[in-house]
């Protein structure tokens, strides 16, 4: 799956996107485990970050599959 980082999460990871290859679909805690393993700096942001799956906010029980686009969204501040 493709994982996108925005705003300060770009600073935390040093990139704006990554390809995450997984053997099977992931639930939210599993996805976080994978991400934090690669980017430990993300752990700090976790309480404030909302996840999006395919351009919609993901429900807490969402499953993230291989062909999904996942985005990590820190608190927004548009307008």
């Amino acid at each position: 799956m493709r994982v996108l980082f925005f705003a300060q999460l770009k600073d935390a990871t040093g990139c704006n996107a990554m390809e995450l290859a997984t053997a099977s679909p992931l639930n939210t805690p599993q996805l976080w485990t994978e991400l934090v393993q690669r980017f430990p700096a993300l752990a700090a942001h976790r309480p404030n970050v909302r996840l999006a799956r395919n351009w919609e906010y993901a429900a807490p029980d969402a499953i993230f599959a291989d062909n999904d686009e996942v985005a990590l969204l820190p608190p927004v501040s548009g307008g």
Partner: protein
């Protein structure tokens, strides 16, 4: 409803044709959000916006459709600019068309609120504003209750986060007289054997240990401060004082009560089994560790350092701590509160608890208005920028969580968590900025008390390189009566010791080892375990505003979530309350 959405990196036109078909439209409403030249008291030239375009467009559409179901409109047009936008230029344009003005006004108002909560667009920090690194991302002002739900951490998760993010500050060398309570940052080893020579433990006469004679001649006298090395021959004795350095190895001391002396002649009446000699290196051998790195220096440890001549140990620095209260209802304790006001008890509570750590504390009060608060903070530079720890006590009348959080973020702190599953103390905020840490403490004193002991003390231990406070095992002395709570609770309790009554030995790891002589079996409790038992008396408290229990509390009992009550005698974990005197 007809919807048109654009995200653009080009300037938004001065004039835009409003949406909707002329004829049906009775109200055209236009709104422009423009970049201001000032942000939190600082002059800026531009703001940078970033968007997740695919999702931002969908989210704007979803919001407009949802809101227009309640406030029917004919058409809406939204243009959001991204990239660097100079001061004075439009960041967002919204045009709404409806048959009557009411629906358009309501839709626009709600849409702008929701956009600032849900649409993935971010305001990158004000350009040329001189903001601190890390303060680059502006967080939306919050409509209470609308903030995206944050994931609350458990008590253990929160402690782990605090521990891992509070890293030791650079150590300093400090004279012994200023080192009490500091954390030793080097291991101090014995530079020589202790004691460095054999010493007498009695007033008496030193003779060779292998000399079985009864009659001796006294050849010398050694006082406590003397150093008179010589090899004693058989039949020779030396008068020695308690603590005196013996003249050579292989001696024993006969107590003066056990001899008869006449001039230089000495007759030994009786010999004890004991040699009455404290042997060289008996206490510590050269090179053996005396005080380990990570030890919080107490009076005894300082005495050891003095003993070995380490007068400038490498220790944790004195912490610089700033504490702000917030809330317009708070008045100084010396004043009489009007209805709606309350006296500030948190300042002295925090100041007193901080006495457990060598630190300099500066305290102040922040106005509720965010800009005014930032001005107050700016007035305290560079104190704030040099502070190792920033504590903000929430005020009940402020939207305390968002206020404190926004404040910390503006000061460059990254918020690690802003909620924990704990009672009391749920809205605890923790942030880090480099090596500096900050806490937003929930406003009432009981929450302060609890959060200080498990959270702030953990951070201070981390910054100083010391051991974080750990839960100990104890036992309830009376029933803890509670209603089930979905959160864990830290319950104020009075810890007492019971000694001298029959009590079964507690399993290993319990604190303290609960043991006394067993009256029934006559079995003796091992001497090193006769410490009595910990008896925890839960104190009464009904809400986190209760403070009467604080004066008596010297322990915080950990009550698991969803646990209605705990029986008398139940094994529990507890956190000891700090003594407020000496090294804690």
């Amino acid at each position: 409803m007809e919807i048109e959405i654009q995200l653009t990196d080009r300037p938004i036109a001065e004039t835009i044709l409003p949406p909707g078909q002329p004829g049906a439209v009775g109200a055209w409403l236009e709104f422009r959000g423009v970049v201001r030249g000032e942000e939190n008291g600082q002059t800026i030239r531009a703001i940078e916006y970033e968007a997740y375009p695919e999702m931002a467009g969908r989210e704007i559409r979803r919001l407009l459709q949802e809101i227009s179901a309640r406030h029917p409109c004919l058409a809406a047009k939204v243009i959001h600019r991204v990239g660097v936008i100079p001061v004075g230029e439009t960041a967002i344009y919204v045009g709404v068309a409806s048959p009557h003005r009411g629906a358009a006004i309501a839709l626009l108002a709600e849409f702008m609120d929701r956009l600032k909560q849900d649409v993935p667009i971010w305001k990158r920090g004000a350009r040329n504003a001189g903001l601190r690194p890390g303060a680059n991302w502006k967080i939306a002002e919050n409509v209470p209750g609308r903030r995206p739900a944050l994931q609350p951490l458990s008590l253990d998760e929160a402690r782990a986060e605090i521990s891992s993010r509070s890293r030791p500050l650079a150590a300093v060398r400090t004279p012994l007289a200023e080192a009490l309570g500091r954390v030793l940052r080097e291991t101090i080893c014995a530079p020589e054997d202790l004691p460095p020579v054999d010493r007498s433990t009695r007033d008496g006469y030193a003779i060779r240990a292998d000399d079985a004679s009864k009659n001796f001649s006294v050849v010398d006298t050694i006082h406590a401060a003397d150093w008179k090395p010589r090899q004693l021959k058989s039949g020779e004795a030396v008068r020695v004082a308690t603590g005196a350095a013996l003249p050579c190895g292989g001696l024993r001391v006969v107590m003066q009560e056990h001899v008869k002396r006449d001039g230089d002649k000495l007759h030994v009446v009786r010999r004890e089994n004991s040699t009455n000699v404290r042997l060289r290196g008996e206490e510590v051998r050269q090179g053996q560790p005396l005080v380990s790195a990570g030890t919080k220096l107490n009076a005894g440890a300082l005495a050891i350092l003095a003993t070995v001549g380490n007068v400038n140990p490498l220790v944790s620095p004195r912490l610089s701590i700033i504490h702000f209260t917030t809330g317009n209802e708070i008045i100084p304790p010396s004043q009489t509160p009007k209805p709606g006001q309350i006296r500030d008890s948190n300042s002295i509570l925090i100041r007193s608890l901080l006495q457990n750590f060598p630190c300099d504390v500066e305290q102040g009060h922040l106005p509720e208005n965010f800009e005014a608060a930032m001005l107050e903070i700016a007035a305290r530079k560079p104190g704030i920028e040099n502070a190792d720890v920033l504590l903000v006590s929430g005020g009940a009348s402020v939207g305390e969580k968002d206020f404190t959080r926004a404040l910390l973020e503006q000061l460059g702190f990254e918020i690690v968590f802003s909620q924990i599953n704990l009672r009391p103390g749920r809205p605890l905020i923790f942030g880090v900025n480099g090596l500096r840490v900050a806490f937003g403490l929930p406003g009432n004193p009981l929450s302060h008390f609890v959060c200080f002991h498990f959270a702030v003390a953990t951070a201070l231990a981390g910054l100083t390189g010391g051991e974080p406070p750990e839960f100990l095992r104890g036992q309830l002395a009376e029933k803890l009566d509670d209603k089930p709570c979905p959160r864990e609770t830290l319950w104020p309790a009075r810890l007492e010791w019971r000694v001298g009554q029959t009590f079964l030995s507690a399993s290993s790891g319990d604190f303290p080892v609960a043991c006394a002589d067993n009256a029934n079996t006559g079995q003796e409790c091992p001497a090193n375990q006769q410490t009595g038992m910990s008896a925890l008396h839960p104190l009464k408290w009904a809400s986190s505003g209760d403070i009467t229990c604080l004066a008596a509390a010297n322990a915080l009992v950990r009550v698991p979530a969803n646990c209605a009550s705990l029986d008398d005698g139940a094994k529990v974990d507890f956190l000891p309350v700090m003594s407020m005197i000496g090294g804690g």
